[in-house]
Point group: C2
């Protein structure tokens, strides 16, 4: 019987700087799309629906899936929230590379220096008894700087010292167990140029923090074309090592389906 509903997030999501520029995370969506295909191949008779939430332009599965393109982490957050509350989601495979930061404000070093100078000049110098008090005052001023550039169109190409002030984006993975504690959750951790133990530790940290059932830990330097080294970590500390996207997606699909079956039997 087709009862399982699964969300796969995939691709490298981007955040706007201005009307034409954006910040993107590496990510093609290939691993996510292969995982969707593997799920259908192995469990198509039990899967009711796959929601494939992805960055525009990502690879999409050659399998039956509802493709939902999203612009930016905040839109991805909205879509996940809606699906997790309205649909009986059994599993979430969160392979999307989300920008940890979105551009909050765009300014220049000149604008910021002018703003800080005005604030310092009008402040009571007695306030700054210590360098630390001065640093705190300056930090507050930096974060309140209102001499900003208009980001709705294209910011001028001629600025000598453009400054991008970033803010953290919502952590999508945190939504899953909060909104649907019973769902199987596969997290992903991507680092670059670290040793294996550091990578495995970071993966386990993601697992603990977000109550994942599985975490795929991988290192950017070990990904090129079809070669893709990945460690699929279990909560008991064991892991499987894979060497290609095909192996990784087969490993994830197999484990997710068996976890889903176990939960359905309970």
């Amino acid at each position: 019987m087709k009862t399982m509903k699964i969300i796969i997030t995939a691709g490298g999501i981007s955040e706007k700087i201005d009307g034409v520029r954006k910040i993107t995370n590496s990510g093609t969506g290939r691993l996510g799309s292969l995982t969707a295909e593997e799920l259908v191949r192995r469990g198509g008779d039990r899967i009711e629906k796959i929601y494939y939430v992805c960055a525009p332009g990502s690879a999409v599965p050659r399998a039956d899936a509802e493709v939902i393109p999203v612009q930016g982490a905040e839109e991805a957050n909205t879509v996940l929230e809606r699906l997790l509350t309205r649909e009986n989601i059994g599993a979430v495979i969160h392979s999307m590379a989300v920008s940890d930061y979105a551009v909050d404000r765009v300014t220049t070093a000149e604008n910021l220096a002018g703003f800080l100078a005005d604030r310092l000049s009008s402040a009571d110098r007695q306030e700054f008894r210590s360098t630390r008090a001065l640093a705190e005052f300056l930090l507050e001023c930096i974060n309140r700087n209102d001499r900003l550039l208009d980001r709705s169109r294209k910011v001028s190409s001629e600025l000598d010292h453009m400054l991008l002030m970033m803010r953290r984006t919502p952590k999508l993975i945190g939504l899953v167990k909060t909104l649907r504690p019973s769902a199987v959750l596969v997290g992903f951790k991507l680092l670059k140029g670290v040793d294996r133990q550091t990578l495995l530790n970071a993966g386990h940290e993601v697992m603990k923090k977000n109550s994942c059932d599985l975490v795929l830990a991988n290192d950017q330097t070990e990904i090129s074309g079809d070669r893709h080294v990945g460690y699929l970590l279990s909560p008991d500390g064991s892991f499987e090592r894979y060497e290609t996207k095909a192996e990784i997606s087969a490993g994830i699909a197999g484990r997710v389906l068996s976890l889903l079956e176990k939960r359905e039997r309970q």
Copy 2:
């Protein structure tokens, strides 16, 4: 006789923030690849070589062309410089969307505030006779801030106030007439959400500044899928209006080939 050598630059180039994050310009390379195909279709018997310098992952022409992928504006600059000095380049069609800014340094508001506080505390307060003098001092300090984050790997996802300090990238288009004054040069100007006259004026400015023979002026809001409104401007102030990528690439290819023929006859 096959005598013409043509460079086409295409796609949206990206600049690294750190090991996994990057800033990209919108641009798929479709217009550049179509233009290469049109050039071969109309002038294949006279074209010796097309160099197609593009962002990795861009669309590439289904026609004989040497594809040269480049990472970042600085690498594109090196490649263009080499081609323009070593090869007898007859024309350059510069449709590549280059980031005007690369990330120079990554810091946090906390780091910057601490650095500024230290500098202010150790400076002679007498120096700052005016708010303007103070602003100049602060500007210099902001640009010299050395409390930076390590960008070679992945910068932490947990920073509250990340700051990206940008620097301008080299203007690639400026190279062309400097290194090869006889080359036919097609410039591109992309704006977003402006009226037609503003767009045309901006296009003519690019033309004057870089001694272009043609400029394609277009607005991001008038580009979606195959619909692509573009104005191909001539130095005499006249222009052709096109409505699709196919029309634009045919227009550019035709004009470039006839300009190249005129110059060869001279």
